[in-house]
Point group: D2
Chain length 203, copies 4
């Protein structure tokens, strides 16, 4: 395999990229001046050097020369220790943070469970979550911040079952509220969404 084909093959593993677009990427690199490929190589190499995984929430974060083992959120003492939100991936954590409404801590599950998944512990960080919960104190509520789709609901069901024996009665388990997402029209909303939109109406 020559290096055009080799690099195409690698790009074709990227999320959402097929063989044709992968090849376009390679030709794009060939057409750009050498500086661009060097920047790419440097950035990829720096990524593993500069980025580490937070010991608490397991998200990836930039070390920025600090020796700390915690990301900026987990090392922020002013946040609400009584709340822990479990989210599928780093990018979901970022979305919630940007929304500005949540001030508790997070745990990044690393994915979601497809229906009938036989080896959940290979898909999501369930073992790590249990260990994490073990040493959490002052916890009052765990929010299952899952996507509002079949995988998300399946993951929430799985987590509820796993957590039930683990956490004491004082810790509530909640799920994110259903309702009208921005852009949704009533006509196209499903009954579940509409029922909740009415229940959660605001005055």
């Amino acid at each position: 395999m020559n290096s055009i084909d080799k690099l195409s093959e690698i790009f074709s593993h990227f999320p959402g990229i097929g063989p044709r677009q992968a090849k376009r990427f390679v030709y794009y690199l060939l057409h750009r001046q050498n500086g661009f490929s060097k920047d790419l190589v440097d950035a990829v190499e720096n990524l593993k050097k500069e980025i580490k995984q937070c010991d608490e929430c397991l998200r990836f974060f930039a070390k920025n020369g600090h020796a700390g083992k915690l990301c900026s959120t987990c090392s922020d003492d002013t946040r609400d220790r009584s709340l822990l939100m479990i989210v599928p991936r780093d990018i979901d954590l970022e979305a919630i943070e940007k929304s500005g409404g949540y001030k508790g801590y997070y745990f990044v599950l690393g994915g979601a469970l497809p229906i009938l998944e036989k080896e959940p512990e290979k898909r999501i960080r369930i073992k790590e979550l249990k260990k994490h919960l073990h040493h959490k104190k002052d916890l009052k509520e765990i929010i299952l911040g899952m996507n509002a789709n079949a995988e998300g609901e399946n993951t929430a069901d799985f987590l509820k079952a796993e957590l039930s024996s683990l956490i004491n009665k004082d810790v509530a388990v909640s799920i994110l509220g259903r309702g009208l997402s921005t852009g949704i029209e009533l006509e196209y909303a499903d009954p579940e969404t509409l029922k909740n939109a009415f229940l959660h109406r605001t005055k």
Copy 2:
């Protein structure tokens, strides 16, 4: 204009139909046996005969031989008189009814207001709404059941302003709850949706 072009022109006014599909409709009618065109003509003619507009909520409903002036919802005495939901169109009323969560009455506004609309009373049944509210008794809450888009929000703002002088302090005005609609992923949800999904979380 021959009758192929004439009928194409009429179909091209149908919502979402362009000239090309309009013409396909005409050829479809030509290819079907005569019975189909006759069924279409009969159904269109029956529509105006059998369907009337409800005196209360202004939705269209089938008379079914009854002399009544109210649709099945408005003539149902067991519903909750303290709640009135204002929805843009008949089809939205149907969607809410199907969801099964709401047991109050409705008013069909007949549409929504685009931003900067100069003649709101031509777009929506605002005059009819005011008249309708005038004789409503026992009302405790008006729910603005608008779509979660710019037009819907604009219409809600307009209605709040119009209603403020009209209804007494005891009547609350609410909007449908925001949150995660079925199918939404956190990564693609906007901050408004995420903030409300957290606020309206359910245990």
Copy 3:
């Protein structure tokens, strides 16, 4: 079934229309003034009165008060009698006519054959075509004007086989030329298209 549901059901048979859009059509009619529904009914009723099928090419055409049994194309003596193009549907005949490049006669087949179709004579006017060819004189070439997709190719293969025994050796059977359609990029063209684009290059 009330007349809203009845008319929805009829519209849902229209090509490309699902139950939801069918219902939108009905509400559209209800919201329009009475004149619009009347225009629709009149146009549908006029369609069957004013439109007849051409005795020769079998397309539909407006009679316009004339007693003639032939459409404007088939009754045009100045066209090239040596050429006959077989097209799937009326709308394809119109497209070819608008392109202005063809000056022969047409036959509308009434559709195309899906692969493995067991009853071709129910799908396409093969019997009518044979009868039509029987009394055609001066014919030198039959052009199979099929769509460039699997159904079109299947129909062309079927017609070639059927026609072989029917027409004499002096009548050629041709297919429309392959090449780059307007808008096509080389990168996305298939080998068949590219090979023919090279073969049919023009100086």
Copy 4:
């Protein structure tokens, strides 16, 4: 900027990639084992080492240890020296080669000219093309292998004008044949395509 943002920024320059998908690429790299990132870096570095630009057609090709300055096509003496096809990009050359119908030589123009482009020589290799034609012998036909869109036609017009003074009368300039591309339906084809499909019909 931390290295997640830096690498996201680089990926967002890739053709067809927006900031959101660029970030997904970065998290994808973070989640994969170290081996994958190393493979990516190696492949990018090898690309510039192993790939060179052909001295003749200017496409990129793998050196494979050979010292040759020509790609496999340009160094193939058995091809037809009388034909030269000018294509926009490497990927178009590959598409034509795969189609198997063309056995002449190529020149990769490096792109196409948008309408009203003021500096054509910065967009396409027009200077290199002129130099290339200068030393071509036995040439009988130049095929302008452009995409069948506005940019492609604009580029063909530009090339015709530029070449007219350069090549002698014995060299013809041709364009790829128009016709029905695979998948096209007559109803949706434009007049230009249909006219040529008829002209280039095959018996």
